[in-house]
Each structure stands twice: as structure tokens, then as C-alpha cells.
């Protein structure tokens, strides 16, 4: 599966990764070679085989909807790149 430069830019945008013009060829080559490796799957007949998400075939355990953790707001805000008045700060979203 060969990806072209437009594919790479689209994937990069979906993945929220800035890719500079001089890196696009490298990504196209390396990701295409990984997809070539992965394409060996397509020859396999998997008809009637159920997908396996959890290797033990079990479902995730549910817990009762109860408060289980302390409020650690200050501890979490303390490690944020930018915070103010109990809030995470990000660049202006609405002009």
C-alpha cells in the first residue's frame, strides 16, 4: 500500500502532528513500507472468525457509580503547562 504525500498530510492532520514539507517523503516511504508488511493480512481468510479485542475474551468489569478518589485539582493543575484560577489555560478559541 503506497501512500502519497497528500495521504501523509491528511493522516498527520488527523493525528494532530505537524509534518514539515521536508519530512513528508520520509514518512510516505516508511509508513508505506509498514503498510506493505501489514498487507500480508489481506490474503488470510478470516471468514467466520470473530474479532478478539480482549485476549481473555472477557468484558471489562463495571464498578458502582460511587466517588472513589479524592479531589486532587490543585495537584493536577500544578503540573499543567499553563493554569489560572483553577482552570487549564489554552490559546484563545473564540475570537
Amino acid at each position: 500500500m503506497a501512500l502519497d504525500n497528500a495521504d501523509i498530510l491528511k493522516i498527520a492532520k488527523l493525528a494532530r502532528l505537524q509534518v514539515n514539507a521536508d519530512q513528508v517523503d520520509d514518512y510516505a516511504n516508511s509508513i508505506s513500507s509498514i503498510l506493505d508488511l501489514v498487507d500480508a493480512m489481506q490474503k488470510v481468510n478470516t471468514e467466520g472468525v470473530e474479532p478478539l479485542a480482549n485476549p481473555l475474551d472477557t468484558h471489562q468489569r463495571l464498578r458502582t457509580d460511587a466517588v472513589t478518589a479524592d479531589n486532587k485539582r490543585d495537584a493536577f493543575l500544578a503540573i499543567a503547562p499553563k493554569s489560572e484560577a483553577g482552570l487549564f489555560l489554552v490559546p484563545k478559541v473564540i475570537e
Binding site: 509498514i34 501489514v38 478470516t46 472468525v49 485476549p55 472477557t58 471489562q60 499543567a80
Partner: protein
């Protein structure tokens, strides 16, 4: 303190031969003087370690010691440790100080073990050589021109060099077993759900599992006794009984049925590794075990299926690194989109970005069925092969890796060549079964591991089987000439 085992340290602490403070001071001095050769540590937590050591000494004096109390260990820098920097070997988490403790590291704290520091790894555990670290490559103590394996390469090197007697690792596709094999250690990946993933920086959540890396199976059993426990905080943690892993180490192996899958010995395997592996397996015949040829017909498919499932789950897991709540944020973002894209592009290394992009592609609209769902169907075929095999045999054995440790830099330019290194280890994580690597000799001075795989929740049997080999061989006692 080169090549001291946890068993010996535990006994010495109990007998009063040395204190935990002495051991901890020695270990830290040793790391400071020698680790520049290996680069196995990212962070040394000296003050905290000494405080833990003093607490351990008091606990020992009070007669309340547990087997690991006072023993210095290290954690792969993927386990969140409260108030101690946890980087995942990534620039994006370079200054991340977790406000909480992972379950595994908490269990070691409860047991009174001393954590001297956090070990190097491939960034976000993505790699097979420990060359993908923001903090530099790790070097193999057996030959510093060779890779230690990855992703738990720092833990492997730290133990192999004798700086700590045991360390934690994580294994998503071989990241405990492959470095254990390359560094002459015992390393076990438990059954999926056996050890809590809570507080471990996530790579691929349906594959990730933590385990110990030690010199001996007996030491691994001691660490498993601390780590393996049901955890309500991990929704995939299994509510099953946890045995005393040290209790069955000496069980007889008479009548043990060992399966030898022909697919583990086909083209691509270094003939000298094959010979060493078969010679190790031969030892079991004298113990009364029976060797049976078996087949795992879908083994080859583990590589393509893994390199869809793992990157897909990684792209989802790593979406949390957005520069908003913690971790790296780029300078002067011009808007929100620019902040996301540049923080991530500047914060992640190349292999991590590649895997995120492969996963994003595989999960994108129109491709989901052909990639992720297809890979999950193949995953069941791989699991079914093992389930069938374990109706015939008790354990399966084979090589851990196709060749011994390769040279630093020899595979870095070709990601696909690096991925092929994982051929024997990936299927284990796909099936979710436990497996370990135990020392099985040397090829040109570089260690070879024997891969022992078992049915779900059979860790005690695997440790028993490895321990019995270690009673009749001395490969695990060898140490690098440089020490």
C-alpha cells in the same frame, strides 16, 4: 555488589549481614560511578531511596519484614511514581511529575522494597533496541557495542551490570523477554490481566503487561509475589487467585509435556541460536520431560496483525498528549490547532510519530474493517492455535529472538527490519498467555534466551520450569567479562 540475587539480599538483610541503608548507598554509588557506560537510568531518586531504606531497616528491626523489604530495585520509567519524574523516555514527558503512584510501584512500596531510580526505555515502550529514547541509547553490559534489547533495555542493563538485583519491565510485544534474552536474565511477561496496568503509561492497552526482570527464576517469583494481585483500579485486572510463586519452584518436572512448534525453528533463525535453544531444551529430557512436536500455523501472521493493533491502540492512547493538562507544550502557539500539532510534533520522537500515524490511518474512516477488525480476527486465530496446543502439551519452548543482540545502529534506519526481530514474542501478547525468557547459553559472547510459554495463569509452572533448568545449568550465573 555485582551479581547478587534478590534471594541473597533478602537473606542478608534478615540475618543482619548488612542494612538496607548500606545496600542502597552502595547501589546508588555504583550507579553513579558506572552507569555512564550503559545509560540504563534516567532518574536516580537518592533521597527518597535512603528514606525508604531507613524505613525498611526499622521494619526489619521490628520483625515485620516481608521478603522484599529493604531490597533495592529499579522501575522502568513507564511506571508513574508519585513525586518522582516519570518520562516514558519521551521529551513530551521530560518534566512530568505524577501526582499519583502506579499500582505496581505502590505494591513494592507496601512490601518495603527500595526504589533507587527509574530506568531507560524505548520512548513509550515502542522499540526492540532501546535506541528510541529521548535520553539516549542504552548499551548492553555484555558488549557495549550491542543493544540491550527493548523496550525495557534500561531495566535489563541495570540488572545485567549488577547495579540492582531486580527491576520491573513491561511487555507489549516482547519488551521484557527480548531484553532479558539479550542480557542473560530471567524475565517474565505474565498473563494479560494478572498484573495491574494502573499508572503505567499506556502503549497498547490490550497487549501491555508488567513483569519482573532478574537473574534467577527464584528472584522473579519473589517479585511476582509482590506484583501479581487483583486491582479494582484496572478494569482489565482479573479476579483470580494468586499463588505463592516461590512455593512450586522445586516441583518435579517428571511427565512434563514440552511442545516444540516447528514454526519457531524455520528460516530466519540463526543456526547457533537454534542449537543453543535445542541444547537447553534437551536438558529437560533428563528431568523426565517429554518433548512433542507441535504446530502454531498462524505464527507468521503475528507481525502484520501486531503492527496494526499496537499502533492503532497507541494512536488512541497517545491522543491524550495535547499540551493542555500536563507534559510538553510548544512555545508561542498561534491557536489551539497549532498548539496540538506542534506540541506533539516537537514532543514525540520519530518512531512514536510513525506508529501514531500508522494507527491513525488504520482506524480512519473506510479502513477500519480492512485493518483493525481484520487484525483482531487474525488475533483470534493466533490465540486458537495456542489454546489447541495446550490441550496437547503443558508448556511450549523455543527461541526468544532470531539472533543474539545486534550491534547498536545496525537496524535503526529500517523500521520494518526492526519489527521482524519480534517474530517469536509478539504472538504471546496477541494471545495474552504468559511467557518467560531464561538464560540458555551464549553465541559469540552474547547471551541467548530460552522462551518458555504456558497456558493462561500458569506463571507458577513457568517459573518452576525455568528454576529447574537453573538448577542444572550455570548460564544464569555467568557475568559479563567487563565486570
Amino acid at each position: 555488589m555485582s551479581y547478587t540475587t534478590i534471594t541473597q539480599l533478602s537473606q542478608g538483610l534478615k540475618d543482619g549481614t548488612f542494612s538496607s541503608r548500606e545496600l542502597t548507598q552502595d547501589a546508588i554509588a555504583d550507579i553513579k560511578s558506572r552507569d555512564h557506560l550503559y545509560n540504563s537510568f534516567i532518574t536516580i531518586s537518592e533521597d527518597l531511596a535512603l528514606a525508604q531504606a531507613d524505613a525498611a531497616d526499622q521494619r526489619i528491626a521490628a520483625g515485620q519484614a516481608a521478603p522484599m523489604t529493604g531490597v533495592p530495585i529499579a522501575h522502568k520509567d513507564l511506571f508513574c511514581t508519585q513525586d518522582v519524574r516519570t518520562t516514558a523516555a519521551s521529551k513530551i514527558l521530560e518534566n512530568f511529575i505524577p501526582p499519583y503512584e502506579s499500582t505496581v510501584s505502590q505494591l513494592f512500596l507496601n512490601a518495603g522494597a527500595v526504589t533507587v531510580g527509574k530506568t531507560n526505555l524505548d520512548e513509550f515502550a515502542m522499540g526492540s533496541s532501546n535506541e528510541n529514547s529521548y535520553f539516549g541509547s542504552v548499551k548492553n553490559p555484555w558488549d557495549t557495542k550491542a543493544v540491550p534489547g527493548g523496550s525495557s533495555g534500561g531495566s535489563a542493563a541495570a540488572v545485567a551490570a549488577g547495579m540492582v538485583a531486580g527491576a520491573t519491565g513491561t511487555d507489549t510485544g516482547g519488551s521484557i523477554r527480548q531484553p532479558a534474552a539479550f542480557c542473560n536474565l530471567t524475565g517474565i511477561k505474565p498473563t494479560y490481566g494478572r498484573v495491574s496496568r494502573f499508572g503505567i503509561v499506556a502503549y497498547a492497552s490490550s497487549l501491555d503487561q508488567a513483569g519482573p526482570m532478574t537473574h534467577t527464576a527464584a528472584d522473579a517469583a519473589m517479585m511476582m509475589n509482590v506484583m501479581a494481585q487483583f486491582d479494582p483500579q484496572d478494569s482489565t485486572s482479573m479476579q483470580v487467585d494468586t499463588p505463592d510463586y516461590t512455593a512450586s519452584l522445586n516441583d518435579s518436572l517428571a511427565g512434563l509435556k514440552i511442545g516444540l512448534p516447528k514454526e519457531f525453528f524455520e528460516a530466519g533463525l540463526d543456526p547457533q541460536v537454534a542449537a543453543a535453544t535445542l541444547a537447553a531444551i534437551k536438558q529437560y529430557e533428563a528431568m523426565g520431560a517429554q518433548i512433542i512436536d507441535i504446530s502454531l500455523p498462524n505464527l507468521q501472521l503475528c507481525i502484520p496483525a501486531y503492527y496494526v493493533i499496537a499502533p492503532s491502540e497507541a494512536s488512541s492512547n497517545l491522543s491524550r498528549y495535547d499540551g493542555v493538562r500536563y507534559g510538553y507544550r510548544c512555545d508561542e502557539p498561534k491557536d489551539l490547532m497549532d498548539m496540538y500539532c506542534r506540541s506533539r510534533a516537537e514532543g514525540f520522537g520519530e518512531e512514536v510519530k510513525r506508529r501514531i500515524m500508522v494507527g491513525t490511518y488504520a482506524l480512519s474512516e473506510g479502513f477500519y474493517d480492512a485493518y483493525y477488525l481484520k487484525a483482531q480476527r487474525i488475533r483470534r486465530m493466533i490465540k486458537n492455535d495456542f489454546v489447541k496446543a495446550f490441550t496437547q502439551v503443558d508448556v511450549i519452548m523455543g527461541p526468544v529472538t532470531p539472533s543474539p543482540a545486534f550491534d547498536l545502529g545496525s537496524k535503526t534506519s529500517d523500521p520494518v527490519a526492526m519489527y521482524l526481530e519480534d517474530i517469536y514474542t509478539l504472538s504471546i501478547n496477541m494471545a495474552g498467555i504468559p511467557a518467560l525468557s531464561t538464560p540458555a547459553g551464549f553465541v559469540n559472547g552474547r547471551p541467548v534466551g530460552l522462551h518458555i510459554m504456558g497456558n493462561y495463569f500458569s506463571e507458577a509452572k513457568l517459573l518452576n520450569v525455568a528454576h529447574q533448568l537453573q538448577q542444572v545449568t550455570d548460564w544464569h550465573l555467568q557475568q559479563p567479562q567487563s565486570l
